[in-house]
Amino acid sequence: MSRQANRGTESKKMSSELFTLTYGALVTQLCKDYENDEDVNKQLDKILFFCFLPRGYNIGVRLIEDFLARSNVGKCHDFRETADVIAKVAFKMYLGITPSITNWSPAGDEFSLILENNPLVDFVELPDNHSSLIYSNLLCGVLRGALEMVQMAVEAKFIQDTLKGDGVTEIRMRFIRRIEDNLPAGEE
């Protein structure tokens, strides 16, 4: 998806500017294709099973396999460990940043990822007619899709965004439930 560092000897690097601009092109095209910002937000996050260019959720579903193949991270025992791995290993690997983890809920099922700088928005300014666009909503879809594949249903949403004038970018993650393994139907 982005920088492909740390791949043994054949470490490939990609210009982060090219990546940022490519993402911008994707969002712009979606804005042209869909009437209003809500639909674009949904598309960025959503499940598009029959789409050749998988976004958000679909990227997550595949990205998690790449992540596991490269990082050698095993199963996480609790949500806190998951949060650590997301922030310190996954974000570092794919976006080159390490968000901080804060605002744990007392029950330990919700936390916030604070992105000091978001590489996706390096060159971005939201025009007035797109005030409700959640520009980086793709990240939420990726997180949701990836965690679902390791049997964790979560909800991810932006609650602060530098594009909307906030000081930092904040993604709120909420643990919903563990998805249990089931024996496929029709077997005894």
Partner: protein, 145 residues
């Protein structure tokens, strides 16, 4: 030493890929039935192993052997299961199964947007690379034991 066959399952029990090399005797049931039987056994043995474990498990179920063959098992946190049957002379091959997952399945199937996930892998490239990788393994030998 030799490799008999290889199964690749996803989390829902779909057999993503099957190939065989030196398998002289078939199970005598349709392949679909065989996959179901294999997956069902893995599913049960996995939960059995974790229930019986006296300590917190790390990797869980790794292998079992009979008087004629050895079954090696590798599972990722996403539930992809790689199963390889070999003869008894083959030692632990976790790294080999991990390589099949990370360098072949992830690189050639997961990263190929035209390969739908959750169904039998159609990619010819994946098949041929997997075949040549298995044939190049030090314990793969034409003289089937």
């Amino acid at each position: 030493m030799t490799v008999h066959n290889l199964y690749l399952f996803d989390r829902n029990g779909v057999c993503l890929h099957y190939s065989e090399w030196h398998r002289k005797k078939q199970a005598g049931i349709p392949k679909e039935e065989e996959f179901k039987l294999m997956y069902g056994m893995l599913f049960s043995i996995r939960s059995f192993v974790s229930k019986m474990s006296p300590l917190d498990m790390k990797d869980g179920f790794l292998a079992f052997q009979t008087s004629r063959y050895k079954l090696h098992y590798y599972e990722t946190p996403t539930g992809i299961k790689v199963v390889m049957n070999t003869d008894l002379g083959v030692g632990p091959i976790r790294d080999v199964l991990h390589h099949i997952y990370s360098a072949l399945y992830v690189e050639l199937v997961v990263k190929n947007p035209l390969c739908p996930l959750g169904q039998t892998v159609q990619s010819e490239l994946f098949r041929s690379r997997l075949d040549s990788y298995v044939r190049s393994l030090p314990f793969f030998s034409a003289r089937a034991g």
